[in-house]
Amino acid sequence: MLSMLAWADSVGLVITAAIPGLIRTDRLNALIFLIVFSLIVVYFIRRAVRGKKLYVRPLAGLQAVEEAVGRATEMGKPVLFVPGTGDIDEIQTIAGLSILGLVARVTARYETPLLVPVLYPMPMAAAQEIVRESYIDEGKADRVRPETVQYVAGESFSFSARVGGMMLREKPAAHIFMGTFHAESLLLSEIGQSTGAIQIAGTAEPEQLPFFIAACDYTLIGEELYAASAYLSKEPKMLGSLKGQDLAKMIIIFCLFLGILAVTFGVYPEFVTDLFTAN
């Protein structure tokens, strides 16, 4: 089923590309890369499904999640999870919500209170469902509280003020920030740092990473956030996609290296520049 979908997707795009006038030729390079990337990822997913063992390097931040929840349980304090300040249409929010599902399982298992403040109502609805399903899967359906997932505010500084207040009043023992963050990253992580809680953060916003690295105990950088759900669930299909992604990265690095040499030594520099220009 998986390979049929992937092949249909690729064939459809290739047919579209083959028919002149139907495709934007200025985006052909992106289309070819998308097809190649998809095929590589699907190939490694199939390999993983066939039972091939895949090595994924340990991510300290994710290994610390269970330790952080355990610490909160021992101290009798809640765990605070912030799935970013983006709306549901952002892929980082989806990544954050995926990690929430796995963290909610651990908190359900240890019967640790969980606080999930959310900035937008649609991620709130998704988070409520995720937490409920996670608790049901752990056999702790009666432990689900309506105030676990809270719609806090519709604006980022109001959100930061409210979550900062939560940190100072409720004093969670662990803060987990996973998703899109902007100016509130420093506010949340610094306030959290002052309470002495263990802090784990992950975002793909390059401008916010330095603040998280300075204020948090563990930080997931860029792609590690997207790999987190695969890493924590250990499903072969998801781990296979990580390997495919890594191979695609190697191809990009190789192309970058060739491109640097070509432009430096004047070997078809305009062609090479156009080849890697995104429109």
Binding site: L5, T16, R27, L186, L225, Q245
Partner: protein, 190 residues
């Protein structure tokens, strides 16, 4: 949406724009969910007189006051809503934003301690860039601004681009997993 990105047909572009419009409409209705959630949780805390229940009364008062004035009087210039926004909400937002300056200083104080080789390099680079960005730096050493600009334009941009490339591939891989139905943890199924 993917086909619309690569296709030239007007029909594809129209469909894509229409889908985005539907999403905005759904998001508007979803806002009701948020208001109901915040009202239900806060009212519950007030009713049971739980910890910090007076704060919840203030929250509910502010929520319904702003919403009420906005709905019945409008949000244009000269309305009570606009006055509340300009004279209460905006200054509070500015206050939170201004706290960032102090937090940057405290985060920098913690991060820039020369305990390891990497931290020492970070400290030296940060000092050079900070001096290069202020007028005084030029009087300390005339080439500080040029060195600071070089650091920001080359090594810093190179690293940011590396992170962006990795993150983009990660996002594409995750999107593919979601489209193929492999990634379902965001729906609550592990």
């Amino acid at each position: 949406m993917i086909v619309a990105f690569f296709g030239t047909g007007d029909m594809l572009a129209d469909f894509s724009n229409e889908a985005l419009r539907y999403m905005s409409i759904v998001a508007g209705f979803a806002l009701l969910l948020g208001v109901i959630s915040i009202t239900r949780v806060s009212a519950g805390v007030v009713r049971k007189r739980e910890k910090d229940w007076p704060h919840k009364i203030v929250l509910l008062l502010c929520l319904f006051t702003m919403a009420g004035f906005g709905i019945f009087q409008g949000i244009t210039s000269g309305t009570v809503f606009e006055w509340l926004f300009e004279n209460i909400q905006k200054p509070m937002m500015a206050t939170m934003f201004s706290v960032l300056a102090f937090f940057i200083a405290s985060a920098a104080y913690r991060a820039f301690r020369a305990r390891t080789v990497e931290a020492t390099i970070l400290l030296i680079t940060a000092v050079v860039v900070m001096l290069g960005r202020v007028p005084m730096g030029q009087y300390v050493y005339e080439h500080f601004p040029a060195v600071a600009n070089w650091i920001m334009m080359f090594p810093s941009v190179a690293v940011q681009r590396g992170i962006i490339i990795g993150a983009a591939l990660g996002a594409a891989s995750m999107s593919l997993r979601i489209i193929l139905g492999i990634e379902r943890t965001y729906m609550g199924r592990g």
